[in-house]
Amino acid sequence: MTTLVLDDLRKSYSRAGPAALHGLSLTVASGSLTALLGPSGSGKTTTMKLIAGLIAADSGDIRLGDRSIRDLPPERRGVAMVFQNPLLFPHLTVAGNVGFGLRMRGLPPTRIDASVAEMLDRVRLGDLAQRKPAQLSGGQAQRAALARALILRPEVLLLDEPLSSLDPALRDEMRLLIRTLQRETGITTIVVTHDQAEAVALADRIALLLEGRLVQDDTPQAFYARPATTAVARFFGGVNFIPGTVRDAVFDCAIGPLALPQGLPQGPGLLTIRPESLRLGPGPNLRAAQIVAVDFLGSLTRIDLALDGVALQAMVTPDTARGLSVGARISVSFPPEALWILPH
């Protein structure tokens, strides 16, 4: 088992400055693909470097299975890291780069050559083995960098923004390749990203870091349906927030009482509903709203609404939006199962 446990990790880069990590605790299940998500400066890369052993933690522990790896040098941790840029070694060929780690372990050349050939085929670089890194495209270089780490069969694979240096067209391809290789090898993998859509599309689980703190560790679906805080909801595109009070299964607020599902925390709170869950037309919790703006965004259309002085936003398909015009009054409904209460 290679469950990775981060236990109350703290790190400051300077005594005077703010801490980069304020006591991060996170358990990454063996064989899972976890996204470490957060805006820039949230401590994602710091966390990766701590796990890889490239910087030292001020306090806290890092465990792989039941052994602490906190004080081991990087080369003895069983952790391989792929950086944002491919960082291939320019003086080595593609094959030389991919075989690098095995050579450092002192494996015989014939075994290295066989492993390298097999690995290059898996990332579809077989015919570029003798190229120099300067002769590769961005996507090819990133695949070579991935192969260079995967060939070592590390216990933990760290990928730091592996898609951000690629063209949009190449991202889907690379995302699919990472997903496939991770499932095939079963290597415990952490992907750092600032892009919530990328995290959702790639990972089994998402750990969201905001300002050096873990705010939620959950399935991708849960970040949409049950965000832990307003900040989490906002990070995932939440825009509708209505203050009020929960009493039994009813929410009292400026737009009148709304029926809620059972089991939500009682007392004051902030009601939220995803813009794509707000329904235009009749249904439960029916209200009348005025259209403030209609913006065509391609596959979806954004409708800005005013409802008794509360600003709301709905995302609907262009078909649903057809015929809607600014200033018109329409009926809006709030499906109870789509409502969620945030601490206020």
Binding site: F100, M104, R148, A149
Partner: protein, 287 residues
């Protein structure tokens, strides 16, 4: 104006200086080394000067001494510069001051440095007197002979002191461009600190190190003023022989001076060509 004409015009001043001074000088040197001196009534070029120079009794020893001086000072300076550059790219208190001190002696002329060495490490110099005062040696004359010595220690000392910051600066610029990410990758792929240096960083800085070292070698091999001040009476470094032949009252020996200058230039150019070739091959073969 097309791009090409603009580039040509912008380059013209530099090219003019290069062609006008360097190539003309080189051409004249070559002509004179072949004893083509119409002013002296010599209009039939021949190889007599080369024959005289190459068969002169002390020539081989002088050539060997110059090669020794250039090789030893380049190797020592390169190794020390690599260590200094690796140290200076890190951040630590006092780094700026040390970096400044390292660069300071770039501004000091070679000849001034040579005289400084003379004052410091000759048998009548400061170190000898300090060692005597401290009771380490019973007389200043017992201080090891480091100037005008057959192993050219004083000369090598001066070149190392003078060229070390030059190579360090080039390496430092090189290292700062590369950053430390490649080493971090190597470490995370299982390379020890030494392996990351040996298999990743060193090959990446080698082109810069080789080029800087070749320049230092060519200079140490061809410059005459330092061996003139700090060198032994015999054998003399090759550039000193050339200088003496050039200043000889016998005008005929000027051709020999030119022949020696050509030999020095050919050795220097051959070395640069070898380094360039090595870098090209290294770029192709490595895996």
């Amino acid at each position: 104006m097309t791009d090409r004409t603009r580039i040509a015009l912008l380059l013209a001043p530099a090219l003019l200086v290069l062609a006008g001074l360097f190539l003309t000088g080189l051409g004249l040197t070559l002509l004179r080394s072949f004893r083509y001196l119409p002013g002296l009534g010599l209009t039939e070029p021949d190889l007599a000067a080369y024959a005289a120079v190459l068969t002169a009794p002390g020539f081989l020893r002088s050539l060997a001494l110059s090669l020794w001086i250039a090789t030893a000072s380049t190797v020592i300076a390169a190794v020390l510069a690599l260590a200094a550059a690796l140290l200076l790219r890190q951040t630590f208190p006092g780094r700026t001051l040390i970096a400044f001190l390292v660069q300071l002696n770039l501004t000091i002329p070679h000849i001034v440095g040579a005289i400084g060495i003379l004052y410091l490490v000759s048998q009548s110099g400061s170190f000898a007197r300090l060692a005597h005062a401290a009771g380490l040696i019973s007389a200043p004359a017992e201080f090891p002979i480091l100037t005008h010595d057959p192993y050219a220690i004083g000369i090598i000392l001066l070149y190392v002191w003078k060229e070390l910051p030059f190579i360090t600066l080039i390496l430092l610029a090189n290292l700062q461009t590369l950053g430390e990410d490649h080493e971090a990758v190597a470490r995370s792929l299982g390379a020890s600190r030494w392996q990351a240096f040996r298999h990743v960083l060193l090959p990446m800085v080698l082109p810069g190190l080789a080029t800087a070292s070749a320049l230092v070698f060519a200079f140490a091999f061809g410059a005459y003023e330092v061996p003139l001040v700090l060198g032994a009476h015999a054998p003399k470094a090759l550039p000193v022989l050339a200088w003496q032949a050039w200043t000889d009252t016998d005008l005929a020996s000027r051709s020999e001076a030119m022949a020696m200058a050509v030999v020095i230039a050919v050795v220097g150019l051959a070395l640069l060509a070898l380094v360039a070739r090595g870098l090209r091959l290294g770029g192709q073969d490595a895996r």
